[in-house]
Symmetry: C2
Subunit: 398 residues, 2 copies
Amino acid sequence: MTFFLSRRRLLGGALGLAGLELMKPTVSFALPARIQHQPGITLPQLPFLYFITFDLTTDKKSDIAALMRKWTEAADALMKHESAPHLVDSGDVEGLEPGTLTLTFGFGPGLFMKDGKDRYGLAACRPAPLEDLPRFTGDQLVPAHTGGDLCVQSCATDPQTAFHAIRILARLADNIATPRWAQTGFSPDFAKHQTGRNLMGFKDGTIQPDITNPAVADRVLWAAPTDKPWMQGGTYLVARIIRIALEHWDRTNTGFQEQTMGRQKQSGAPIGGHHEYEPLTLKQTDKDGNPITPENAHARLAAPQENGGAELLRRSYSYDNGLSYIAERWPPWRQGNEFDAGLMFLAYQQDPRTAFTKIFERMSKFDMMNQYTTHIGSGLFACPGRMEGHYVGEELLG
Amino acid sequence: MTFFLSRRRLLGGALGLAGLELMKPTVSFALPARIQHQPGITLPQLPFLYFITFDLTTDKKSDIAALMRKWTEAADALMKHESAPHLVDSGDVEGLEPGTLTLTFGFGPGLFMKDGKDRYGLAACRPAPLEDLPRFTGDQLVPAHTGGDLCVQSCATDPQTAFHAIRILARLADNIATPRWAQTGFSPDFAKHQTGRNLMGFKDGTIQPDITNPAVADRVLWAAPTDKPWMQGGTYLVARIIRIALEHWDRTNTGFQEQTMGRQKQSGAPIGGHHEYEPLTLKQTDKDGNPITPENAHARLAAPQENGGAELLRRSYSYDNGLSYIAERWPPWRQGNEFDAGLMFLAYQQDPRTAFTKIFERMSKFDMMNQYTTHIGSGLFACPGRMEGHYVGEELLG
C-alpha cells in the first residue's frame, strides 16, 4: 500500500479515464507525473495526531539534507509498519494491528532566515507564501508553543503508533535539530457519513473545499505553478493551538452558542435552515430586517463567499492536556485549574496570505467565538512535494 | 446494560451455581448481596483514561453528600450514553457510537483530615488502609500533581467520551470542589489474547492476580470484612504518575533493557525462558552461579513470591503530555525539551500498606528501572462499594 498518490494517478481516478486529463487545462497539466504529494494532507484524516516542531541546531545545510534523507527513509518504512533502518526499534507497537500511519514534513521560515541571518544560504529559495504570519488581534502566543524550523505531523489509528514514529524521528535528529513544541490530538470516529463534533459540541468540517476535484485542489490546496520549483506538488500548513474556555462554553445556553457559531447545534444546519449541507443563511433577514445569521457569527466570517472566495483545507484535531492554572480576566475572576483543552487547528492551503491570513484577520477582530477561544500557539510551514525516488526536500537541500 | 455487578451475581457466575456460594467460606459470605462494586475496577480495561482529582472547598459535609448524589446520578446516566440530569449536555459526543464508559469515584485522605483539621467530622471514619503513603526513595513528587480529596477515573472507548464525562462532573462540583490535577492515558488494543505493550516496548500486565476467582479477589482486591462498614465492597486505589526517560531508554540496547526488566522484550518470556506465561526464572543460575534474572530486575522485585505474596491489580495506562523542558542530572547533561510521557500507574488493592507500599519500598531502592523512571505525581483513594439504590459514599456521608 502506497501513501504517495502521484498526481497522474489522482487525476486518472478523479476523471475516470486517464486519457481525458490533458483536455482539462485547469488541472496543472504541466506538473511532471514524477512529482508526488506528501501523505497526511488530503482527507479523510486518521483519528490520532502527534504534531511536533524542531529547532535546527546545526550550522550545516548538508546536515539538514542528511536528516531529511533519513527521515524520509524512516517514514517510508514506518508507514509500511516496518522498523526504521539503522535503528533498534523501541518495540512499543509490536503486536498492534498494522494500522495506518501518515507522516508529513514541513519547513518553517527559520530554515531560510532566522534572527536576520541566512544560516544555510537558502534565503533566496524562500517562497513568497511562507511570509511570517502577522500578529492577529487577540493573539496570546506562547513562544514555547510557537514557531519551529521543521515540523512533523504524525497521524495514526491509535496514539501509540503516532507517538512511536515521532520517537524514532526525534532520535534521528540528534545533534541536528532539537524538539521545540508538540501537541497531540484526537478526532474520534463519529458514525459513518456524519461530520465529527469538536469539543464545543458542534459539527466541525461541514464546509470544506472539494479537493477530490483536481481543479479545486490545484486552486486551493497545492502550490501554484508559479511558486518555487522545489514547492511543486507541495502545500502550506498553518498550525494554531486554540485553547477553548470549555467551562464557560458549557455554561452558555444552546441558543447563544448557536448564534455564536452561526449554525444549529444538534443538526448542524444553518440558522433558520433544516439540513447540515444547506447553504448558510447569509442574506436572509427576520421580520425586523436583521440578518438571521448574525453578522459576527463564526460560520459567516469563515464562509468563502464572505472572504472573496478564500478557502483552505481544515484538518484539525481536538486536544486535551489535562488542567492548567488560570487567573480569569473576566467576572467572576476565578483563579484555579481549568481544562487545558481546545482545537489543534491545522489547515493546508496554496498561499496563507490569501487564505488563512485573509480569513482570520477579520475573524480575529469580529468573531463572537473569540469570547471563548484564545490562540496560544502558532506555526507556519512549507510542505514540499516529493520527487519519486527522492527524499522530501531534496530539490531544496540536495 | 448494567455496570454494577452485584456480589451475588459475580459469585453465581464464577461458581456456576449460585447455591454453592455459602459453601465457600473464603468468599466473604457475610457481605450482603445489596452491596455492589463500582465499575472500572475489574479487567479488561477500556482503552482511554481521563483521571482527575479535586480539592474540597466547601466546609459542609452535606455539600459533599449532595455532590456524591449528583455525581452518582450523572454517572449512571452517562454510562448508559444518556445526558446527565439537570444539565444541558455539552453535546460533543452526540453521534459517536454509544461506546462503553466507566466512572469510578474515590475519597482521598483529605476528606478525613487535612492540615491537622477534621473539617467534616469524619476523622473517626477514616479506614486504616487509607494511611498516607510514605515518602519513597527517589520520589520527586510535584505537589500540583499529587494528592486530592476526591478522584474520578473515567475510562472509555475513545478520549472524547472519557473527557465528556469529566467535564460534566466538574461542572456539578462547582462551589464544592475544584479540580486539582488530571492525567489522560491510553492503552491501545493489541491483537486479541496478547498482553499490551507500554511505551518501553515491553508487555505490561502478564502477571496479575486472577480476580475472576472470588477467593483471590476477596483476598487481594476488595476491602476486608474487618474494614470500615462503609468500605464493604470497596477497594483502594494507588495512582502514580511515572515519567519515563524515553530518550534514554530508546538508546539502551535491548540486552540491557531485558536485564533491567527481567523479561525478554519480544516474547515477554522470563530471562532464559521461552513463553510469556512461564514462571519467572527467580531461582535459576548460570554456570557461574549468578541468578539469570538479575537480583535487581524489575520483574523479580515486583513478583509476589519475592514480596511475601503481596499482590495488587494493575490497571495502568501510558500517558503522553507532549514535551517539557528538562535539565538532565547525568552526562551529557543535556538541556532541552524531552518527551513528557510515561506510565499513569493505577492499582487497586485491599490494603496499600501490605500491597503497593510493601512492594514499592523495595523497588524504589533497588529496581534497575529506576534509572529510567521518576515518580512525579501520586494519589491514594478509598473507592467504596455502593449499596443498591444508594449513591456512592452514602454509607459514609449520608
